[in-house]
């Protein structure tokens, strides 16, 4: 290992340690969570720090939860699976290490932000579900997805965006118990558009939506193959 590689490793070690320790800002936490999706070395360092520091959790005094908390959790669990897709989806999903370890925690908790944003403004009037799609390294909403029970979904851009030549944006969704994401087709950057959902099972709370960067005629593999540009989860909105 030469000197600059050793310095890089030391920096990566420090980043992983500070991520687990909790001393990074939200923005830097999200950057780490995003990088862990693809950087095995960083993920391994984070795993090691999780294990090293875990005993410190014993220093927090136990606290009794209010009696309503478990029933509330139980009500939020998704209904039994209705859709199971055979084949390699599960393997792909795992190979990408998409939802493993702390990454799962970070992305899942971005649903909190989405829920907070939805408490204000026009969201409340719309029935059905709302999703705010946010770039993984950002907290600024980039797209709002509104769904209705009639199986239509509208996608509205909140920012202008451009796509590199020979590339396209592809829209995906994945329910809690689905074996893999399903394409909702290509979407045009910066344009409002409507998409039919009639071939999909009913939407669920917490259902994942994402937009990835793909070749100009869409992913060649039928599953997301490019980087995730925007991601969010469905929140049920009562009118």
């Amino acid at each position: 290992m030469n000197q600059s590689q050793a310095e890089d490793l030391a920096e990566l070690q420090d980043l992983a340690g500070q991520y687990v320790l909790g001393t990074l800002s939200l923005q830097r936490r999200q950057q780490v969570e995003q990088r862990m999706l693809t950087e095995v070395a960083l993920r391994d360092l984070v795993d090691a720090w999780e294990q090293r520091l875990h005993p410190l959790t014993a220093l927090a005094e136990p606290q009794h939860a209010s009696s309503g908390l478990w029933p509330r959790i139980e009500r939020s669990l998704p209904a039994p699976p209705r859709v199971r897709r055979a084949g390699g989806w599960q393997a792909w999903w795992n190979n990408l290490n998409f939802w493993r370890w702390t990454t799962a925690a970070g992305l899942a908790c971005s649903a909190l932000l989405v829920a907070v944003m939805l408490q204000g403004g026009q969201a409340r009037r719309a029935p059905g579900y709302m999703v705010v799609l946010v770039a993984p390294r950002d907290t600024v909403p980039a797209w709002v997805v509104q769904t209705s029970s009639r199986g239509q979904l509208s996608l509205m851009p909140l920012t202008s965006a451009s796509v590199p030549e020979q590339k396209a944006l592809q829209f995906w969704t994945k329910g809690q118990d689905w074996a893999g994401p399903v394409s909702l087709g290509l979407v045009k950057p910066g344009r409002a558009q409507s998409i039919g959902l009639d071939k999909l099972p009913p939407l669920q709370p917490n259902q994942l939506f994402e937009i990835t960067l793909e070749p100009s005629n869409g992913s060649q593999t039928g599953k997301p193959s490019g980087p995730i540009l925007y991601i969010g989860r469905a929140v049920k909105v009562t009118s």
Partner: protein, 186 residues
């Protein structure tokens, strides 16, 4: 950690959750919710917010149970890390709403709070095992900085305020403290 968590089979519980057994998640909740709520409360510091974090973390554990990989660490550690990172993201997000991200550290640096003055002689205990030995080899300020960050979810600035120390010193203590811990634990 109390005896009742020693005999609990976390990996089996995650396996059963992945297979759709809600009772397995409930057993995990009954066994660990008080410890997990304790972990979350120290970080977010408000009981209602801590319960929200625990709610979201349990839903997340249920949804992600199938992706747990025992090759990458123990099931119990995975579960606790889901709760901790949920709490950390929550507390950092709410801090960010109030102020602009890293400005927090600078402001906290000037506050010089005293609510924890004198309490940084950490009372560690034998259950921490090897980590305890290695923490014991750190200087008191490095040890306190690391424990305040991990257990209380403190930012660099908040630690500086608690220790009445310059922000730059705290950043250096944490960086060197982590490097020393890693060295000691390998």
């Amino acid at each position: 950690m109390p005896d009742d968590t020693l005999s609990f089979d976390y990996e089996a519980a995650l396996g059963a959750c992945a297979a759709g057994d809600r009772r397995a998640l409930e057993r995990l909740y009954q066994n660990d919710s008080r410890y997990l709520l304790g972990v979350a409360l120290r970080i977010v510091r408000h009981r209602a917010v801590a319960e929200d974090v625990l709610h979201d973390a349990f839903v997340s554990i249920w949804n992600r149970a199938a992706s747990f990989d025992p090759q990458r660490g123990a099931a119990k550690g995975w579960i606790y890390s889901v709760v901790r990172h949920c709490a950390l993201n929550n507390v950092r997000a709410s801090q960010r709403e109030l102020l602009g991200g890293d400005e927090l550290d600078d402001i906290a640096d000037e506050q010089g709070g005293d609510d924890h003055a004198g309490s940084h002689a950490m009372e560690l205990n034998a259950s921490l095992g090897k980590l305890d030995d290695c923490l014991a080899h750190l200087s008191e300020v490095k040890r306190a900085s690391i424990v305040y960050a991990y257990v209380d979810g403190c930012t660099h600035g908040e630690i500086a305020a608690r220790l009445k120390a310059p922000l730059g010193s705290v950043k250096a203590w944490i960086k060197r403290g982590l490097a020393a811990l890693r060295e000691c634990m390998t």
